[in-house]
Amino acid sequence: MTELSNNKIQAIVRACRIILRMIEADPDTRESQKMYYRMLLQYYTRLRDARENGQFIVAHTVFFPAEIILAMGLVPMHTETTTWMTSLFTGECSDILAAGSSMGMATEICAPHRGMAGAFANGAIPKPDVMVWSNMVCDNTAKSGELVMDICDCPGFFLDRPFKDSDLEKAYMADELRDMITFLEKQSGKKMDYDRLSEIVERTDRQIKLTREINELRKNVPTPFSPLGFLELLTIDYLFPGQPESVEYLETLKKEMEKAILGKKGAVPNERFRLMTLFIPPMYLMAFLERISIRSGAVSVIEPFFTFWGEGTLDASRPIEAVVEKSYMIPEARMYGPLGESALGAIKKCAREWRVDGAVYYADVGCRHSCATIKLFKDTLADVDVPVLTLDCDVVDQTVTSEDEVKEKLERFFELLEDR
């Protein structure tokens, strides 16, 4: 095992092990949830032991096509998700955020990026062999990739993804991907296995279809999926795209949901409020949010920017082009792409078809782009008579909002929904 001071990866591994031991002993825990934690444990154990096993670590930012890294047999490290997981499993990130701040990063900068920089700087997560990043969807990543290269003294590659999606722009991005593969081959000494990439793309396509089918099941009243279960769907795509265990997880989850629907069993004992979730809840409050959701009968039934995939299929016979295509289909692309009728129309469609009572917008202060959309989304949802609660917060920085504050606002909002 790699020795690191204040090793966050080891902390995540231990937390996953403890949770797994607890839920495996609980007959009421769904099988898919056990599978999910086994996958997380596997991901972080592999990352923890990568150095010792002589494996090549590729750090990559959110929305980066991890399919490429996995097809080359390299070890991926999803940087933002790793910061989230640190917050989720250890309860706090103050040390790595402070380390980020001490490097001069302002508190207004996206906390997962601030935390990631701090974690690399103080040795809390292993330094990668290479850093790859992109302007795909999130603008923050465009600069923080350079910073990671600087902190970790490693080479890097910036994947330029065009804003629009004409054939010309898609062809440009495919060339970018080919250049990136050449870069990774040179740095790692490993060749891209295109057959393997095709298999991964094929399974990614299956994953997307399964997620769509799962979302269809979530339309049911009462909804069969847990109040904040969408975070599992999100993580599955972020960390395990096109992996056999992802498909198995989604198929198991789907069967469990079908069974729950047949048994008329909802995810919460008394479903009162069907919610739409906009953006990411604070990770350090997840246990509290789960409790208050169950107690109040509130359940997230749809997330237009996380689980509601855009139209299209992936052609495994042209894997590079398929990876490009996926980048325009990912749900988050709606939020960061042109905010035209396709984005706003999707929100309305979700509100209507999933019979949403209210929406909760987790306004992460460090994400300027998403915060800039609050009014627009609020007005859009007002057209379909869906009230929106805006909760100022941060996904990992606990100094922005407290549990009491979130509790008070959520209770106020539930009272509003009940009183209407």
């Binding site: 009014k375 106020r412 009183d419």
Partner: protein, 264 residues
């Protein structure tokens, strides 16, 4: 059975006693360390004013800071719900209430049944709150009435930030000490404008555009209400007892619960 509403604010606790939809009495007393004690003192005084028996049959709804901790309450409601019901009791035509309390300010948009549609609040900084205005009055050695009176003499307001109470205070000190000093009426109007700008932004954010009312202790600041009216380009309704609007709403809700119990 008496319907009692109690609103525990950061500085004062308000209690309202109603019977069958009619207001019997209200009381404003200082908030104490314990929520129970604050609520008990205000309620006892309000019951005395109402001429009630020593231990009357009652239904108590609480709201505000620590409202849920009141051990003798029958229920607790969100401040937004109470403000909506309270202002609806005073003026059913109201479609949004601007509440400026000691430590926070908010705008609550309501429908034609007195139900909350949306709200916006500002609770991260003292700017735009009663404590901020109190601090400014102290700094200029003026009463609220004197501030209101002086503000009417100003032709324009001094530039004062609305985003931070500490910066605003520094700016006011700078206006007072510059040579020549900025005339007091202009400073006061500037303070009112900084508060009004913040309120206006909240109104815009939730689409609260017409039939506005104001509640909270700051509603007694006539000069501020006049500035708000100019900024929002409309008359703003000030209820007879603006400080007790949320407590009134809590009492209305208590009355609704009594009715439900009677029907069962």
């Amino acid at each position: 059975m008496l319907a009692i509403g109690i609103d525990i604010g950061s500085l004062t606790t308000k209690a309202v006693v109603m019977n069958d939809g009619q207001l019997l009495a209200s009381e404003v007393s200082n908030t104490l360390d314990e929520a129970d004690a604050s609520a008990s003192v205000a309620m006892t005084k309000a019951l005395e004013k109402a001429g009630a028996d020593d231990n009357p049959e009652k239904y108590v709804i609480t709201t505000g800071n620590g409202g849920k901790e009141v051990s003798f309450a029958d229920g607790s409601k969100a401040i937004t719900t109470c403000l909506a019901r309270g202002i609806y009791w005073y003026a059913p035509d109201t479609r949004a209430v601007i509440d400026i309390g000691a430590e926070s300010s908010s705008v609550v948009k309501i429908n034609n049944r007195g139900r909350v549609i949306d709200w916006a609040n500002h609770d991260k900084c003292a700017s735009g709150t009663g404590l901020f205005l109190q601090q400014m009055a102290k700094l200029m050695k003026l009463s609220f009435e004197e501030m209101s009176e002086l503000s009417r003499r100003a032709e324009k307001g001094a530039e004062i930030t609305g985003t931070c109470a500490v910066f605003a205070e520094s700016e006011v000190i700078s206006h007072v000490h510059r040579v020549p000093p900025t005339p007091l009426p202009e400073i006061i109007l500037g303070i009112y404008l900084s508060v009004s700008t913040r309120i206006k932004t909240m109104c815009k954010r939730i689409g609260a555009g017409e039939c506005l009312a104001v509640s909270g202790g700051v509603a007694l600041h006539a000069g501020l209400v006049e500035t708000l009216e100019k900024e929002l380009k409309q008359r703003i309704y000030v209820p007879q007892n603006p400080v007790c609007v949320a407590a009134m709403g809590a009492a209305v809700l208590a009355g609704e619960e009594i009715k439900k119990e009677l029907q069962q």
